[in-house]
Symmetry: C2
């Protein structure tokens, strides 16, 4: 049995709480949140506290709070011989207090309040400083996910950056597509099967090989027509840069 105290009340804390709670080999001892209101989701299910000095003993302290607050809050988890881990993609392991046993437990996914996720499919990137701590973290992660992987702080930082491309930038591209749909009285929903297929295809074929379209073919006529068709500077800028980047990738002169 692994006992856990969760520090944090955000989307990740909620999703992890639900995932841990469903596992018989895991026991959530307590949940800490700064704000009493934010504890309402947990109150009926588990012991909660807003007072860092009241935190109970557990095998693992899991810190699921904003990046800025990790170091500070972790300092308050005093006098404990437990393993303390944070859940951030961009923060190195040594941001945690050096007098603690330290680790990182980073689930690579975008969590929203009202969307269920299948934790078994989510890669959990773990890092620890001793073999024993690695094994403990591995046991915790493997209890909820089938995709546990050892990733060091440098790799995790890179991974977090690629997630900005794969999630943030892709989502913004979807937003621009929706704007153009709306302006032209075309339902955005028509693009959903294409969006799904684009995401699915690169899981069989590399994106380098999957690339199609006028920029890939260096079809200047269509590129010019498309630019003329776009009404907004913002859309033109993204169209121009992405097309240039694609052409450059395939060795066409700009």
């Amino acid at each position: 049995m692994i006992s856990i105290v969760i520090l944090g009340t955000g989307n990740l804390a909620k999703h992890l709480f639900d995932a841990f709670k469903a596992q018989k080999g895991l026991e959530i001892i307590q949940l800490y949140g700064r704000d009493q209101n934010a504890l309402s989701y947990f109150n009926a299910q588990i012991n909660t506290t807003t007072d860092l000095s009241q935190i109970k003993e557990a095998d693992i302290y899991l810190v699921a709070i904003s990046d800025d607050a990790i170091s500070e809050v972790s300092e308050y988890v005093l006098g404990k011989k437990s393993l303390i881990v944070h859940t951030s993609g961009s923060i190195p392991i040594n941001a945690l207090p050096h007098h603690h046993r330290r680790g990182v437990f980073y689930p690579l996914q975008s969590f929203s309040a009202n969307r269920k996720v299948d934790f078994r499919e989510i890669p959990i990137c773990i890092e620890a400083e001793t073999v024993a701590d690695y094994e403990l973290l591995n046991a915790l992660a493997s209890a909820i996910s089938d995709k546990v992987i050892q990733i060091d702080s440098e790799q995790r930082k890179a991974l977090h950056l690629t997630a900005v491309f794969a999630n943030n930038f892709t989502n913004h591209i979807y937003h621009l597509a929706q704007e153009i749909c709306t302006e032209n009285d075309v339902p955005f929903e028509l693009l959903f099967p294409l969006i799904n297929e684009t995401a699915a295809k690169i899981q069989d074929l590399s994106p380098l090989d999957a690339q199609t379209g006028p920029a890939r073919r260096n079809d200047r006529g269509t590129l010019k027509k498309h630019l003329a068709q776009l009404k907004h500077k913002k859309h033109k800028k993204v169209y121009t840069l992405m097309s240039k980047s694609i052409r450059k990738t395939y060795g066409k002169k700009l």
Copy 2:
């Protein structure tokens, strides 16, 4: 029973051939291709020809060839009282010869040689010049898809442009993410669940509301760190422009 002659031998022609063939209410009379070798996939299953003057009578001539060749090839389909339709997103209906009954049959999807697609899920955008022709095209499209929609040439042109964003640009973003993964010795596969969730989320929530990340939060510290972390000019350029475009979308000063 609707009879069809398909003109073309590419990915779309193959996928449509397979989809039509599976429907009892549809009969493929013949398939035309310029190149004898390209007909090998169809030869054993259907009458084929490389000679436009040998094209048989049918209810519908479906032209699934490259955009540039649509007008020319269509001119050769002479003396027929049938409905002639092309399958292109970017070509207007009036690129077809005016002495014909004309229409457009545009399946909004990216087709690859070796990937099966579920046609029932693919939006088919149809356009015709008379009610009778619209009904005939609607019957053809509805035989293979549950998502048939009437779209005029202007709307279709816009839709085709949004598909460049949703497919071509998104795929290129995936490629850049893969490059950064490779450079940092991180498996690209770790991003697949995030890529899937990003695509799925905007089908519940608008991309405008789904946006997260440092640019959305106007977190200049992280934006600066990320830029310093990127090694290649190409990656930096895309990072900078996409971040600016996101910040602008959410009303942050640049």
